[in-house]
Symmetry: C2
Subunit: 421 residues, 2 copies
Amino acid sequence: MSRYNTSDDSCDKTSLLMQLCADRYYISPEAFHTRTCTYGPLGTELKKNIIEQWTSAVRSRAYVFGITTSVQSRMCEESVRIVNVGDLQEILHQESLSKKEASQKIQTLMKASVSVRTSLLQGALQQYIQALELVNRTLPFGLAETGLCHHSDSQLRHSSGCSFEVTESSLVWFCSPRTSSQWMDYWAHQRLQWWRKFALGPSDFDMCNVVDEELKEGASHGVKVLYKFPWGLETLETLWSLGDTLLLKTHQGTCTKLQCRDGRKSVVPHVISVSANMDRGMLAYLFNSFQLMKKTDNKQKLNQRMVLKLHPTLTPVKVALDMGRGSSSELRQVCEGLFQEFLEAGISTWPGYLDTMSLSLENLHTKYDEMGVLFTVMVSESTLKGGLLLVRNRDTTIRETMHISEIKFFLLKYISASENF
Amino acid sequence: MSRYNTSDDSCDKTSLLMQLCADRYYISPEAFHTRTCTYGPLGTELKKNIIEQWTSAVRSRAYVFGITTSVQSRMCEESVRIVNVGDLQEILHQESLSKKEASQKIQTLMKASVSVRTSLLQGALQQYIQALELVNRTLPFGLAETGLCHHSDSQLRHSSGCSFEVTESSLVWFCSPRTSSQWMDYWAHQRLQWWRKFALGPSDFDMCNVVDEELKEGASHGVKVLYKFPWGLETLETLWSLGDTLLLKTHQGTCTKLQCRDGRKSVVPHVISVSANMDRGMLAYLFNSFQLMKKTDNKQKLNQRMVLKLHPTLTPVKVALDMGRGSSSELRQVCEGLFQEFLEAGISTWPGYLDTMSLSLENLHTKYDEMGVLFTVMVSESTLKGGLLLVRNRDTTIRETMHISEIKFFLLKYISASENF
């Protein structure tokens, strides 16, 4: 009998997935202890794919531009700062200083130190004037950025996953005050649709309005995209309708410089901020795609089969290349040829043929299912004879033969078709 | 007569380029004052393209995997630390504490704070054991990462460009001690070739050996890739042959766990570290592609023409879409259709047709040349009548007509052909 009951034993499912993520190169085992974002090769690729899709979705409108702002923040009130400990210690070691004098020197040092940003919004607001020129004062337009933010402990009280350093993806949207509430609805709808598009279980992604007490400074309205983790709901993405308050505050006393055309009128635009936590988003897709199934092996023993059914667009490895029986040097040559062909076509490929420790076919499939590998391509004696490959599909577990000349086109078609589901 | 003399007035050329970078959305004007990495839309895209090409070049070998490590460093000796100023102030405000007690408390706080990494090498060495499993102890293999590093002031004494926060791209290569010097030669050669591949003036990129006095701890040999900026040579990329010292130091006393197969023997691999400063690399390509030419306009006035001849693969905008004379609503519809078509094909496109302030054709070309836009496509009355577009090439300045059904394929072919030069 299986220890695992998919319906209610969510705690076990969580620890199984976390173990899988460590074993299968998604999240580095040490990350669990140190609560840092340390990802293995597969996690790195998955996060990259998610960020790429997020960015291309918000940039599918004409006037959205990517920007890069500094991790150094110029907001004085922020308390997380980068400090050179050497300078601090120099003050502490000066015997001649009284406590008060030392204290004053430390305060001065702190004021001169740079703080680190806690969100990407401020940087985009600062680039607003320059961007205005770029679009010739035509509304609407947007500034997009993905980057590291530092969250202080207080921001983290109720959260899980990665602490302190978080990769955020942000869109700051400038639009006419007339249309800002429609745009808020548009983006909220778009964002939820986007998260669901790549989900195996779309209903675990949901949306809610932010209650008045939790509204951000300057915001008249807020919407959150949530994911139902086994331990509860967590926010993946937040949208704020910010009016013009923060924009005016950022560019104090330069109201005319801020104005844009809205038909024949000149207006100071309203700001909508969209910001997603990509580390938590990645965790959501891992949980969402994790399937635990019971199966009976040929000795009538009950086993569990674990599969990461990540969306074809997101999954880090699209295809694994392995060798069956036969003349290994010749088979290896075929594998190397295919590997280069796939690489050039941009198909992320796992070079299983380099592995000298041979696994049984069943163990190989178990490993690749846990890695979320979409297809396993087996090169064997019959490839050398007649050009035939054995191709196994992760989701259907069906194996079929295919001619070597067709495989690249087949994979490209399969992946691009899945984007339009 | 022109104020500018291309051969020796390098200082003027530098300030012209810096002004162009600010005007044309490469580098944010404020970045010059604050010495931070703040890039506009074009700079952001250029840097992204450079990083993508760097990564795909080092990952063209089978066993190179991407990883993500934390910006938090666990090296105790590093002095740049992230501190919560609130905690520090709490100690300073406690009246009852003596200076000694306060000092001790601050020291404890500093010890508990996290330091920020100054390079990506340490993170890769820490992931070594996990990666070993991934490749089944087969040499050689590599771990690649791109990420933000913080440089302290002392590291910056002799450098220009961005300070403090730097985007580094790193490859840490593990190989048999037998072959490590060949691999060092291989990578040094590869890396220089790579920088030169995308250069307009390849000879400005060069390589030199690191002299003994400047060798990094644990390194037996070092090589630098340099760029000849107008103010002198600066290092873009550094390669170190590190032996096994740092690897053994990172995983203290676990020598057998570090061993790999080298034929029939078991060995602790040697480490080669390759690390590039992407912010400075971007600056190098901007300088390298900047061309200042004198030209005479139709009123016999001498002007200068500035062009950013960035490589087709790297240049942030491949094509600008603009409208000529004619029924503007119909022309705009054609532009929007083309924009979407280019977007879906992954061709980065500038929506010039959205700009309501019409420039003369000459001013438009001046603007796009300064932006480094590869092609300008003009949609006009003859597009509506016979499907013909006017296409202008940045580098040849030749304008030719082309049928609307051919343009996408033409652009894709032009860009991909330029990669194999």
